[in-house]
Symmetry: C2
Subunit: 221 residues, 2 copies
Amino acid sequence: MWAAGAQQPRRAGLALAAAAAAVLAVALAAWRRRRPPVREVLFFPSRPSCTEALLAEAAGLRTTARPCPCPLPRVDSSLSRLLRHLLSARRSLEICLFAFSSPQLGRAVQLLHRRGVRVRVVTDAQYMGLPGSQIGLLRHAGIQVRHDQEDGYMHHKFAVVDRRMLITGSLNWTTQAIQNNRENVLVVEDAEYVKPFLDEFERIWEEYNPINYRFFSKDDK
Amino acid sequence: MWAAGAQQPRRAGLALAAAAAAVLAVALAAWRRRRPPVREVLFFPSRPSCTEALLAEAAGLRTTARPCPCPLPRVDSSLSRLLRHLLSARRSLEICLFAFSSPQLGRAVQLLHRRGVRVRVVTDAQYMGLPGSQIGLLRHAGIQVRHDQEDGYMHHKFAVVDRRMLITGSLNWTTQAIQNNRENVLVVEDAEYVKPFLDEFERIWEEYNPINYRFFSKDDK
């Protein structure tokens, strides 16, 4: 009787241990599957490459039916890698750019906006009205854009994807810079760097709130 | 006899263990004293501050005897922090800058050169001749400078201190950018980021070797 009575808690103990081991195994497998944080440096000028398939795929279109007829090679390039990181956004995208005229990057941002990603853009007032700027198109698409009203330039060139990935460097998002300039972009998933940039974005976003704009007539001194 | 004979190796073993423990303790103490790698984000415009004391100290001059008479506060600022990181160079400094006109940063670079640090500068040909550029002064001081001969801009804005610290961002080293623009600078001691930037510097340094310069007369087609 004594021996039989002791088996009850022993069985329960074994079952508990087995359950704990199973939970541990699942957690370990998930931890192993977890991709390491992105730490990447991209240099420009970017190798010429066709990014149509990448953009079409992100838009949910079939690319095999109508491949792009352009003669550019379908290869990995700094631009395609930048686009891929950008297109990985699922929830939010903060962009803080002095100059933005690249049609490919403009299409990617519009596509994310249509996909329901909360996109916010901060830019420089002097540059945004120049021919080729994407800013008007982004505003037309319903994306929130704010700009400075300062003497100095809003000279940042960074973006934050899903509040976890920082994209920053010397690169303005212009075709000139992508194709012809010596430029660098760091892509970093590291809260220690992401947080100060997010804080800087929020600071600027509030400062550039249109309710703070000043409008002077020519008669004002 | 047998017992006494066995004490010899035992004593030697104890002495070896004590020596190993001492070495371990010293290594542990050194490891504890080792400062953690720099991971810093600086934002601009920089808070106005006087950097004279900082530069005079780095030049080995006594600052208490003749303090700077300027009215700027002696406070920590993004510019003073950038200067401090730069002035920490002991062996080498690689600079890759689109625009360089800040007198304070120019003085710091000349000071490092005089201190025996191996300074190399890469810059953009279109900008280096503009009024206020520091490039002519650096060349005059005997610092090696190379520039592009390309249609695109050499638009990088980075420096590498002692092959271990990367300073990079949106900031050109100009007074306009430091005092008036919204800018960012990352300061990173992490080989994973430093190495690709050093490789990029060496690539550009070789490409911009003056033996590769092309000189065309007006009659050339």
